[in-house]
């Protein structure tokens, strides 16, 4: 179907990307960045129009990793979609699991045992830490730091992945949570190992901070670049650290109180400028808060089952209805929208991907800035293509 014949109305001016005019000097250069480009996190593509080195137009192009996730979800049973959610945001499979499990639990009114809730929190926060660390590493990589920060981030990530693997059996694609709990219980040895890793995390964050935080080059390149205003951020559906970096206090862990997050004491760091540096710092500070949550959760972890005995896994046929469940994934609001018609498969299975929607304002942030900044701004959004294109 062609969209021809659609009349385009004049839109409210303030939420559109500004039109940047060239000063007529020099010719405009159209450059494609991606799909194979060293800094587009895989196969993202931006078509950029440059005036000198200034970006005056930018069009993101999606779909190079469109893997039909939603259609597969509708063709398969509820359980079979669980491992697919691992592959959405492949850095944070556990939070994806949780969001999906939460949506299904909402759909059928399933309770989750307490121990499972605690384990979910522990795993989600570990996921958050490794995601944020890697994101910062990648951001610095894009800034040209020849991999060293990324290596340090991955050094820590490997430790966390070891934990994931020894609990769930897989490094990245954990497929761990189930509707009504978790698949397997954590052994005392695992908890001990986790405590040890968590105890080592503050030192890592300290090292990272010493390494980077006051680096003049980093500050010069990040501060005041890619500024996002809070009202636009809210209007454009931005969520996660990117939203909080603009100063909007909105953390779904605090707002929805899903899981058992209201039992933990933690703070939500907020930025004031909404630039790359704020996004970077908010992530840095969130890692520290996550460590706090982890310490509390590991202390209070109760004994008990990890799976609701009444929970159904196979031949799971929820009654007709729909549900939208969302959590605060490391990248933002990750939601699953399910419509059940009573069959074994969801009638409609929809993922609300934070990375994808956070890219809405990419153009607004990039216009008028240097082409080198585009790469950084893009990196600071923190996307994973698996989730963007699904």
């Amino acid at each position: 179907m062609s969209p021809s014949g659609i009349k385009t109305e004049k839109l409210a001016g303030w939420n559109r990307p500004p039109v940047i005019e060239s000063d007529g000097e020099g010719e405009l250069l159209e450059v494609a960045m991606g799909p194979h480009h060293p800094s587009t996190h895989g196969v993202f593509r931006m078509d950029v129009v440059l005036d000198g080195e200034r970006v005056i137009k930018l069009k993101p192009v999606f779909g190079y990793l469109h893997r039909n996730h939603e259609q597969l979800g509708e063709r398969q049973s509820y359980l079979a979609s669980m491992p697919y959610t691992d592959r959405l945001d492949y850095f944070c499979s556990l939070t994806n699991n949780w969001a999906y499990a939460l949506a299904v639990e909402k759909l059928v009114g399933q309770e989750v045992p307490e121990r499972a809730e605690y384990l979910r929190v522990i795993l989600a926060e570990l996921t958050r830490i490794q995601n944020h660390a890697s994101t910062i590493g990648f951001l610095l990589q894009e800034m040209g730091a020849s991999g060293t920060p990324l290596m340090y981030a991955f050094r820590e990530r490997e430790k966390i992945l070891d934990l994931f693997e020894s609990l769930t059996g897989s490094r990245m694609m954990c497929n761990y949570m189930r509707f009504g709990g978790c698949r397997v219980d954590a052994s005392p040895a695992w908890l001990e190992a986790t405590r040890k890793v968590v105890a080592g995390l503050p030192a890592f964050v300290d090292e990272f901070e010493r390494f980077l935080m006051t680096n003049e080059i980093l500050m010069a390149r990040c501060q005041g670049i890619g500024v996002l205003k809070p009202d636009l951020a809210v209007n454009a559906g931005i969520s996660g650290p990117m939203l909080r970096a603009t100063g909007v206090n909105y953390d779904i862990r605090k707002v929805d109180h899903y899981g058992i997050y209201d039992r933990f004491k933690f703070r939500v760091p907020l930025g004031d400028h909404g630039d790359i540096y704020d996004r970077y710092m908010v992530r840095m500070l969130e890692m520290r808060e996550s460590i706090l949550i982890l310490n509390q959760a590991l202390k209070d972890l109760p004994a008990g089952p990890v799976m609701d005995p009444k929970a159904k896994i196979r031949n799971f046929r929820p009654k007709a209805g729909e549900s939208y469940g969302r959590i605060e994934a490391p990248k933002g609001e990750l939601g699953f929208y399910l419509i059940s018609d009573g069959g074994p498969n969801p009638y409609r299975y929809r993922v609300r991907p934070p990375s994808f929607i956070n890219l809405t304002v990419l153009e607004d942030m990039c216009l008028g800035s240097n082409v080198a900044d585009v790469v950084l701004i893009f990196g600071s959004v923190d996307i994973v293509l698996g989730e963007v294109d699904r």
């Binding site: 250069l29 080195e53 800034m143 040209g144 020849s146 006051t214 080059i217 005041g224 400028h273 080198a372």
Partner: protein
């Protein structure tokens, strides 16, 4: 004995030449020296690449290449063979002749610089009256080859990368020149041999290197910055800034042509480091009078090695600047500092001996450094921040 060791290469050469008829001796001597230079630096390049990969690896908590040959030392050889046998692609729309010439010219101009570098006592190919000028004249020619590479590829990334590279190189070339003028002012010669010899005294065992004066130190810092930028090394490696420009001006180069660019970059590093140590670090002089028994060429290459290590260290640590910041840094920080340093050097001479000139010169330079730095940070509007939390 130490004398012998010091002059071992010179003696060796003369011993070899002794077997030749008189009229052949000079030309063959030149050829031998030249072949030594051109054999030596690529070998050093090979070693340095391994060192770099291993060194950066160590900084990143990993081992680096260690499988090809013992401890991975044959890695560059394998890379070389691979590059040599790799298909050579010349894009259809590229300008084939210029595309071919660019790496060759780069290598040639980079090597020419070594003609005037003294690598040890009596170890210099030509000691020219205008040696330093010759060095810079050759250095200036490399820009053209970079431009040729980028332009002839007819690729957007290449051309942007080349333009960036040229803009960057010309900006820092000025700083490079001006920071070394100070040394010339003090030694009264453009001959690098004379410059080294001018630093050849020791008091209380410590050498009189130019870096140990306020203006010398300032000039050295500026030289180091400009030299890093001139060789496109991190944090000034924008022309190859792969995060936005894929591989910069050599995006379209494959096979050994690419290897030549790679080689050119490293050899230029040696050359800049060699000149730096000649100008500021006493060239082949020993750092303490007690260590003079160690041959001069060991000192020269030792200094070269140390400066390579610093290059590698910087590369392993720093993110890269943006083009406008880089240009601003060159023109609004490095260049003013260099110009100021000229006056400081003049002042140094006219103030006569005594501690006062140390004080005044250092004060002027530190003041300028701090205020220019502040000004730069203010202009760029960056600085540490604090953050608030919501409960």
């Amino acid at each position: 004995m130490t004398e012998r060791l010091d002059q071992i290469f010179v003696v060796l050469k003369h011993w070899l030449l002794g077997y030749l008829p008189e009229s052949w001796q000079t030309p063959v001597g030149v050829v031998i020296s030249v072949v030594c230079i051109i054999g030596l630096y690529p070998a050093l390049f090979a070693i340095t690449t391994v060192l770099e990969r291993k060194g950066v690896g160590r900084m990143q908590n990993r081992l680096g290449p260690n499988r090809v040959g013992p401890y991975g030392i044959l890695q560059p050889m394998a890379d070389g063979i691979k590059s040599l046998t790799k298909e050579d692609i010349v894009p259809t729309s590229a300008d084939a002749v210029v595309h071919f010439l660019a790496p060759v010219i780069l290598v040639v101009t980079v090597f020419m610089g070594f003609a005037v570098l003294p690598m040890g006592r009596n170890m210099v190919l030509v000691d020219m009256d205008a040696g330093l000028l010759f060095y810079f004249a050759m250095g200036a020619s490399t820009e053209l080859s970079v431009f040729m590479a980028g332009w002839s590829s007819r690729n957007k990334y290449s051309l942007l990368g080349a333009m960036r590279a040229v803009a960057q190189m010309i900006s820092y070339e000025v700083a490079l020149l001006l920071s070394s003028v100070v040394i010339v002012m003090m030694t009264g010669s453009l001959s690098l041999v004379k410059i080294v010899e001018a630093q050849n005294h020791y008091s209380y065992g410590f050498p009189h290197w130019f870096i140990f004066t306020p203006w010398g130190l300032a000039a050295f810092i500026m030289y180091a910055i400009a030299g890093t930028a001139e060789t496109n090394r991190s944090p000034f490696d924008l022309p190859e800034g792969e995060s936005e420009l894929v591989a910069g001006y050599h995006t379209e180069y494959s096979g050994f042509k690419f290897a030549l660019f790679f080689l050119g970059e490293y050899v230029a590093m040696f050359s800049i480091s060699g000149l730096g140590s000649t100008l500021f670090l006493g060239g082949w002089m020993a750092p303490f009078s007690g260590l003079q028994f160690i041959p001069s060429w060991i000192w020269f290459f030792g200094k070269l090695f140390v400066s390579m290590c610093v290059f590698i260290w910087l590369r392993g640590t720093l993110p890269r600047l943006r083009q406008d910041q880089l240009m601003n840094f060159a023109w609004k920080f490095v260049l003013p500092m260099c110009l100021l340093n000229l006056f400081v050097a003049g002042l140094w001479r006219f103030m006569g001996e005594g501690w006062l000139r140390w004080l005044v010169c250092s004060a002027i330079l530190i003041l300028a450094y701090v205020s220019l730095g502040r000004e730069g940070m203010r202009r760029q509007k960056f600085g540490p921040r604090s953050y608030r939390y919501a409960e």
